[in-house]
């Protein structure tokens, strides 16, 4: 005989399958099958241009080793991430803390800083390219009128990654800030009281003894999502620099785009994608494992 609770449990299982079915189906269609195809493609010399293709085994992967642009793109991506990540992390953190302590203008600031998140980055990239124009751009006008040398934001290979990071930062800061604000709100105020009583009344102490450790889970989340964003950099490059000047802004995803869609080396592009996903996935995994260690509840 089957117990009543058993019947409930069985109904729940059936329901669970029904509930996840649409999502599972779509995930298969949208992610899994295409990914399998991409992986398969990476073992071929498929190109859109010629008819048919051959299996060439690991040739595409071997080719990466000798492909200068592969190393270059990897380097560019890492440099970009190294510039972008601290900005995407500490600036919003600072903003969130500063906004948190503002009573009156809090919502105004919240709105303003979140604005870029809602805007079309491709449209705003045009604006930024105008602002960053090396001669007539407002940014350089400000710099030169302050007696500083003008900066060739998008035209100099040494600067271009920083400029792109700046633009992307502008567009993402508000989002991370809201995440941090959410994290800050969740810190019980009695902890600050306790810190005050314990003598940790200096803002620096308050930050290091309470705010920072209590924000750890939020921080990991922000770090993970921001890293993924950093590695996924594409739109701004495609619109603003197309990898110029001289490959200096060719980041990884843009390289896969170039190989696939400009040079029609679909197989190689697929191999690059596979490597890309491998790296990004490892990264996310490591950070998520870290996250487990930092949660304390």
């Amino acid at each position: 005989m089957i117990g009543g609770a058993e019947r409930l449990a069985r109904r729940q299982r059936r329901l669970a399958f029904a509930l996840v079915a649409p999502a599972v189906l779509l995930i298969l269609v949208i992610y899994v099958i295409p990914m399998v195809l991409v992986v398969l493609t990476s073992f071929t010399d498929y190109s859109l241009v010629s008819n048919g293709f051959d299996w060439i085994g690991l040739e595409n992967y071997r080719h990466m080793a000798e492909d200068e642009q592969f190393g270059n793109a990897l380097r560019n991506t890492l440099v970009y991430a190294l510039v972008f990540l601290p900005g995407a992390f500490f600036v919003p953190l600072f903003l969130a803390i500063a906004i948190q302590s503002q009573k009156r203008f809090r919502s105004v600031f919240e709105i303003v800083y979140f604005l870029p998140v809602t805007s079309t980055l491709t449209a705003m990239a045009l604006v930024w390219s105008a602002l960053m124009d090396s001669r007539q751009g407002i940014l350089n006008n400000v710099l030169t009128s302050a007696g500083l040398p003008a900066i060739n934001f998008l035209g100099s290979p040494d600067v271009v990654l920083y400029s792109l990071a700046g633009i992307t930062l502008w567009s993402i800061i508000g989002f991370n800030m809201v995440l941090f604000l959410a994290g800050l709100t969740a810190i019980p105020s009695s902890l600050y009281d306790a810190a005050e009583i314990d003598g940790a009344s200096h803002p620096v102490d308050r930050f290091f003894k309470v705010t920072w450790p209590m924000l750890a889970p939020t921080s990991v989340f922000v770090a993970v999502t921001s890293s993924i964003t950093a590695f996924k950099l594409f739109d701004v490059v495609a619109i603003l620099t197309q990898g110029k000047p001289a490959h200096a802004s060719e980041v990884f995803l843009y390289l896969t785009f170039l190989e696939g869609f400009e040079y029609f080396n679909m197989g190689y592009s697929a191999a690059l994608s596979v490597v890309f996903l491998g790296v990004i996935f490892l990264f996310a995994l490591v950070q998520t494992l870290l996250a487990d260690r930092t949660t304390h509840h």
Binding site: R11, Q12, R13, L15, A16, F17, V20, P22, A23, V24, I27, V29, I30, Y31, V32, I33, P34, M35, L37, V38, T41, I99, S101, Q102, F105, F109, E110, I111, V112, F114, P116, V117, T118, S119, T120, T122, A123, M124, V127, A130, L131, Q136, I138, G174, V178, A182, T185, A186, T218, V220, F221, I228, D235, L253, T256, M266, S273, L277, A284, A291
Partner: protein
Amino acid sequence: MTDMTAIAPARIRLARISPGRVLGFVILALGAWVVVFPYIWMISSSLKPTDEVYDADFTIWPRTFAGVQNYWDVLVGQPYPTFLLNSLIVCGGILAAQLVTAIPAAYALAKLRFRGQTILLGTVVACLTIPINVTSIPLYLGVVKAGLLDTYLSMMLPFLVSVFAIFLFRQFFRAYPDSIIQAARVDGFSEIEIVLRLIVPAAVPAVAAFSVFSFVAHWNDLYWPLIVVQSQEKMTASLSMMQYRSEFDINYGRTFAAATVVTIPMLIVFLFARRAFIRGITMSGVKG
């Protein structure tokens, strides 16, 4: 006398914290200026004739007012209402599909036990990292095979399920009290009714937060529409904006008028959904 001494400590405390506050405010205000300046520049440029946009001495108000012309070109000179409608249909359709698929799946992942659960969750998390750039070709080929090219469905297809939504809602539902679900079972709810009557209403804040995300992301998406949109009737608002830009021929005033027009609906969406959005973020405890 007593009053004097009594009020003093309050003053002292105020004085002690205010420099930091004021500094914070100043920095915030400066930052805010940096953040909004591109918008000011964009709107200002959208009112200018092409030859003024790049003038070295920037003025917020144009010397020659070309706003009427620019906006006329954008709003009337092209079938902008169609583009807008396309964007709305696509974004709305995507959002609806994402909610319909994600909420039940997330509930099952959060509160029910079934075989393959861990694998599914793992897959969801793994898929979070896959950008559309990587899968676009197989997807495109599939869309063509299915004869869906240049349809709304093809424009929505890669986004019909959002792994991010599943992840977000799962976090959210995990915090939903088990006892309420049990109470419902005792009250005689069928399992599906638990989803419909309890979980869906409870998801409202998370839905609000996610909706802003989803809407903004797909409103602004260029990559996929560029691939599947074939005819002008199916062009989205943000695609239409790009058509003023080419290597030989940029009409700046009109480009920025178009950019403004494309940006504003999202601003409005956010302004209205802001509270719900932030609350949703806070409640879903993305913190893990």
